[in-house]
Symmetry: C2
DNA sequence: CTCCAAAATTGACCATGGTCACTTTCATAA
DNA sequence: TTATGAAAGTGACCATGGTCAATTTTGGAG
């Protein structure tokens, strides 16, 4: 394994074949790195994370870190993407919402996560445009998943029918980014993320006949 | 001047008063830094810019750079924001477009600029959410200006009338970011920025009565 | 003209992410 | 059991953005 960003489950495919593509040691080291990072983040937040601290806590050398993650950002992608995936797991259990209020109820928890730190939102932004190096990252995956769920919801609720649900979902994603971005903008305070998002979705999902 | 990011025209206000708030020397140094940066960028692009090179070319010490710009990103904001402002200067001369095609014609040049380098788009994204430190940056300003122009256009063209033009303009901005972001995503190739944007704007600005 | 306080500049120094030639460990073949 | 080549790990080293106490320059007051 050199300079390649391991997909964390690829070893399963080779577990009983030879030669073993990924050793148990690798998985253990990777787990140690991730756990060390998560512990640090729980204590001091994402922005304060230092690679040096992570490798020290994990008990490995610095070079080992970069054998497991292309760069620090790849670790962030993995960790933050993991959290968002967890929110989506919850969201996928829900019945298709029958109102914009219900959509917002479903979305707000992940909004809270994404805005906890400006740094986190920046990482998400950077990775939402996504598959930079032919390899699709965890955060980018969540956007795709989000689009799928949202399209399904929109196709099965009381929303506009004149355009493709996938397009509607795309738009929801765009407005979501916009609402979150404006949350960090002093010039646009006084309006909560939820209220702004509600305005957007009313206009996007329930357009009234123009006068 | 310490650690404060100079607004480049503030000196005019004090030019004939005393004590002189900003010395001529300051403006000259700043101009040297900016010109050195622009020359380097013209030769090798934005991503390859190094602060060390800029100060070397400008003939000043490294510390001087950071007396003029809070950080490297602030220089990027100034330079990239300046370019976008120039596009807006052109755009502001136009009559309000009377079709989505005309809107797209007006927007495409700045799209080309914003997608010339992934790095440039990332800088724009990072600063579009904007006024992080109570001081509004050049790029953030362009977004506000863009919104103003767009709202004026949309209010004076054959577009939907059921929502506030400012809200429509907000949406155009959101879709613009989305279209640009997807441009960098391998998974979404095959559709040009313009075509994607056209789809978005048709659905956003000209909603058809739902069936 | 001289002196002074504020403004501007300096460059050695630090923080931190990232590299790579070398060493160690592992799994298998003989 | 031992040899061997590939996988994994190491840590000194580098690249680069950013800091700050000390120094120089400036414009005006006396």
């Amino acid at each position: 394994m050199t300079a390649v960003n391991i997909k964390f489950d690829q070893s399963h495919f080779f577990w009983h074949t030879s030669p073993m593509a990924v050793q148990t040691r690798t998985l253990k080291t990777r787990a140690k790195l991730i756990e060390a990072a998560q512990t640090r983040i729980k204590a001091a937040g994402y922005e304060a994370l230092r690679v040096e601290d992570v490798v020290k806590d994990a008990g490995v050398a610095k070079g080992t870190f970069f054998a497991h993650f292309k760069d620090k950002d790849a670790l962030m992608d993995h960790l933050i993407g993991g959290e968002i995936h967890a929110f989506l797991d919850e969201v996928e259990l829900l019945e298709p919402p029958q109102s914009i209020e219900e959509i917002l109820d479903a979305l707000m928890p992940s909004f809270a996560f994404m805005t906890q730190e400006r740094f986190v939102f920046d990482v998400i932004l950077r990775h939402s445009g996504a598959a930079q190096n032919s390899e699709i990252g965890a955060i980018a995956q969540t956007f795709i998943r989000h689009g799928t769920v949202m399209a399904h919801w929109l196709a099965n609720g009381p929303f506009r029918k004149d355009i493709d649900p996938a397009l509607m979902a795309d738009g929801v994603g765009a407005f979501q980014i916009q609402a979150l971005a404006l949350h960090f903008c002093e010039a646009h305070n006084g309006v909560s993320i939820r209220d702004r998002m509600e305005t957007y979705l009313n206009a996007w999902l329930l357009p009234k006949p123009s006068g």
